[in-house]
């Protein structure tokens, strides 16, 4: 049996993190962790579970200093219903609607998506494109890491063994708009084959592009960005950024071709007002 410690406050959580029991794992909504446990994936590496679900300080959405600040434990449902998100960063509300189904949206958290660090995590390309910053905290204090420096290798992150993700901060530059498109095999409840996110200013003067499911990590696509800003061959540039694989959800060829198709669509539509991207 694996011991579980449920905490209500950050100091309680930090106390356990400081003690560093072997095999400590954080539990938020559990929609990734419990699935893995059920499938016995990495079960033998779990020695102790720190349940942070009831830490209220980690919930909530606020607008401050031109940053949209979202607590790590904020659920997709909360994001979907947040007026702030819908007005300031509608793409994040839209992608939350495409994560799993209601049950998952009620329980799954933004922080869980980030810390799970799956290349197929649907919010992650948006966080990269939006230049989000992650506030990490632990018994040794707090620090900020930009999204791009957080994802290190396949499911490896910059999060220390004694740290929690506390909050995700999105800068809100005036002119830029964030858009994305998720491609799955069916119209709902489907794990992505590819997901492309773009943040751009009018006339594509400043462009940030990120992609999911096409590399071991959620990927910022710098070559494609350069091409988009300089009027170059975006399609060819993207192919140099990404390195997709064959798996049960898709093929290399499909991911390469469709990622480029979607990126071109998104860039083309950047001039038009934001709307929920048409789903297949």
């Amino acid at each position: 049996m694996i011991p579980v410690t449920s905490v209500k406050t950050l100091p309680e959580a930090y106390a356990l993190l400081q003690a560093r029991p072997p095999g400590l794992r954080v539990l938020a909504g559990g929609t990734d962790l419990m699935v893995a446990i059920n499938a016995r994936v990495g079960l033998d590496r779990i020695g102790h579970v720190l349940d942070i679900w009831n830490v209220r300080e980690l919930r909530g959405i606020a607008l401050q200093d031109n940053f949209l600040r979202i607590g790590a434990l904020t659920t997709y449902t909360e994001i979907i219903h947040s007026t702030l998100v819908n007005t300031q960063l509608p793409a994040l509300a839209a992608v939350s609607r495409e994560v799993g189904a209601w049950a998952i949206q009620n329980r799954g958290t933004l922080g869980g998506n980030v810390c799970n660090a799956s290349p197929a995590g649907d919010t992650l390309p948006l966080l990269l494109a939006a230049d989000a910053r992650f506030l990490l905290g632990g018994p040794r204090g707090e620090r900020t890491v930009v999204a791009e420096e957080f994802f290190l290798a396949y499911r490896k992150t910059a999060l220390g063994a004694d740290e929690l993700l506390l909050r995700v901060d999105f800068p809100l530059p005036d002119a830029a708009r964030l858009a994305y498109r998720k491609v799955g095999t069916r119209r709902a409840q489907s794990i992505s084959k590819t997901l492309i996110a773009v943040r751009a200013t009018p006339g594509l003067r400043e462009v940030r592009i990120a992609a999911g499911c096409v590399a071991p990590i959620p990927l910022r696509c710098r070559r494609a960005e350069q091409a988009a800003m300089s009027g170059g061959d975006v399609r060819a540039a993207l192919q140099l950024d990404i390195s997709p694989i064959n798996d049960i959800r898709s093929t290399i060829e499909y991911r390469r071709l469709v990622s480029a198709n979607v990126l071109l669509q998104l860039l083309k539509n950047m001039g038009t007002p934001y709307s929920l991207p048409g789903r297949p």
């Binding site: 049996m1 016995r40 079960l43 491609v183 095999t185 069916r186 119209r187 709902a188 409840q189 489907s190 794990i191 084959k193 049960i248 898709s250 093929t251 060829e253 499909y254 071709l257 469709v258 198709n261 979607v262 669509q265 789903r279 297949p280």
Partner: protein, 732 residues
Amino acid sequence: MKPTITGQPLARIDGHAKVTGAARYSAEVQISGVAYGVLVTSACARGRILAIETNDAEREPGVLAVITPKNALRLPDTKVPENDRVVQVLQDDRIVYSNQPVALVVAETLEGAMHAALLVKVHEEKEPATVRLDDEIKNAFEPEPQSASGKKSADQVRGDPARGLREAAMRIDETYQTPYETHNPLEPHATTAVWNGPDRLTVYDATQGVFGVRKKLAKMFALPTGNVRVLTKFVGGGFGCKGTPWSHVILAALAAKQVGRPVKLVLTRPQMFGMVGGRPLTRQRLSVGANKQGKLTALRHESVSTTSRFDDFLEPAASVSRHSYACENMATSHRLVRLDIATPTYMRAPGEATGGFALESAIDELAHALKMDPLALRLASYAETDPTEDKPFSSKSLRKCYAEGARRFGWAWNKRSPARADGMLVGVGMATSSYPAYFSKAEALARMLPDGTALVTSGAVDLGGGTYTVMSQVAADAIGLPMDRVRFDLGDSEMPEAPRSGGSQTAASCASAVLLAGRALRDKLVRMAVADAGSPLLGARPDEVLIENGRMTANGRTDSFADVVKRAGGAPVEERARAGPDEARKKWSLHSFGAQFVEVLVDPDLGHVRVKRLVGVFAGGRILNARLARSQLMGGMVWGIGMALHEETVYDEKIGRIMTRDLADYHVPAHADVQVIEPYFIEEEDVHVDPAGVKGIGEIGITGTAAAIANAVFNATGKRVRSLPITPDKLL
């Protein structure tokens, strides 16, 4: 008497119980003192169990037993009944497929058993294995005639197909493939076994047929059939995978005997991939020839499908070509290939779903090659009589289905290049649907109680389609009572025997028995009344007695069923009846038919197919309840969308293991994938098919759908996808 209740679109009478949770499914049966079983399954696809470490599991509190091939009770008989599936029940150390039961943990609680099951360590010795059709196709063999193909021989030839192909003005010769699929009913397989003494067994099982479960348990435990009782009151979908009892059913009974406690065993979703069957992979070659007018000159349909190393299941995919089109020169054949997989089984419209995809795609290819409207081509070879058996159809309204479907859909054949709308490619397609009308021996008992209500029973199963409701409707009409004074009960092997709910035969078989039993009861009550000195009807002629709402009237005088029973002493008055196919039925070819029309949108950037509108018109004899029948057809058509676009059981070919082992990876259509579905009926009066005039509509809805969608995708994109499912990567 003319039926007045039968056919009415009544809501399910068990609907309230289902939505409130009052309806108990097999996994929810409450038995005092029950212990919980959890299976441990094999990793490799073929090999031997070297050792199983059970110490850690056995030490956990509440664990009653860890049953392995080493310590499992020996079954008196390991052979299964004829036409039943071979099971793996811990009697030897062989591993014959991945995810096979190798141990069973029994504990006081479900959680305890699940945890202990994680602690069981199985050491396997792997042997070379393959799940790839290509590796073994050289060993394809001709299967014995078996029940799946209606005991018909694997091969049939008529005329001279080679000549017919030579002389054709246009020929199509293509190979089509349908993948492994898994049924995935919402309700998991679940069995609770209770021994009442050393030789009496009661089993609550999620099954499509209580009598089949009884027979298998009685045989394997060497018990008199009458000592085994099997119950199933509600089933949350079967689609074929609950048609025969699998390993876990026997293991629940074995475990209950071994630990001396009732045992409940519920499969997890991943355990439902393999152990309880699935649709086999088929590879089908179609060679079709036609003259310039589109009349078929030759039709050859050769099917290869997969089965396990230890049991033969045949997917009769080529059978559909035997009955579909008028053609002088025809050949059909079936071959089986053994692989290191679990035995496949019947899955919604076995044969017709898979074979119909190949045949109806090939017909569309031929029409395209001839630049003909595919509907016109089908009409050019319309079979007025069964082309293989040279028999008349008992009834066939396919022509009407085509016409009505074309009208409702707005079918206007367009040879021009594909259309575009809003950046999407638009295409239309159609296909023929068909499914045999099966009818098996069934019995029912009708009983009039002194309060004037009737209880009618037959040991059928309600898979969720509405058997409780339609049988009550038929019984009410047959006896002459309103719905609320009839109760129909089912799902108990102590009741009169009914066939298993498979092959769309329950409505036909059971309704015929209920009809005959109900009428016999009504007639008996009339005879009792006219001979009863206490009855106002004394002396009336039975044939002048009119019956309505439980009252009998003749010459202005009335009596009631309730009073007849009371005057006769108050004991229920009952009649039993049996229905079943007779010699006369063999003179006919018996099938349901239909036509499906579909409009698809294809995203040229993503390769996604959206089924925008699906119209199906079906003729399946008498419709007992239009509302429930519509649901059945709609469900079948949704399955057809899944078959066309999503469903595939994917193996890791290196280790022979299914990778898509849950509903996140095994895709069925989500609500958002299903747009407009319009099922319609053509009502038929068929006096030859069975006394109830019913052909069955549980399966026909899925037949033809995948082909219609593939044909529409071709119309939209110019790409012909011959291997299901039509995933986006196949279109880019």
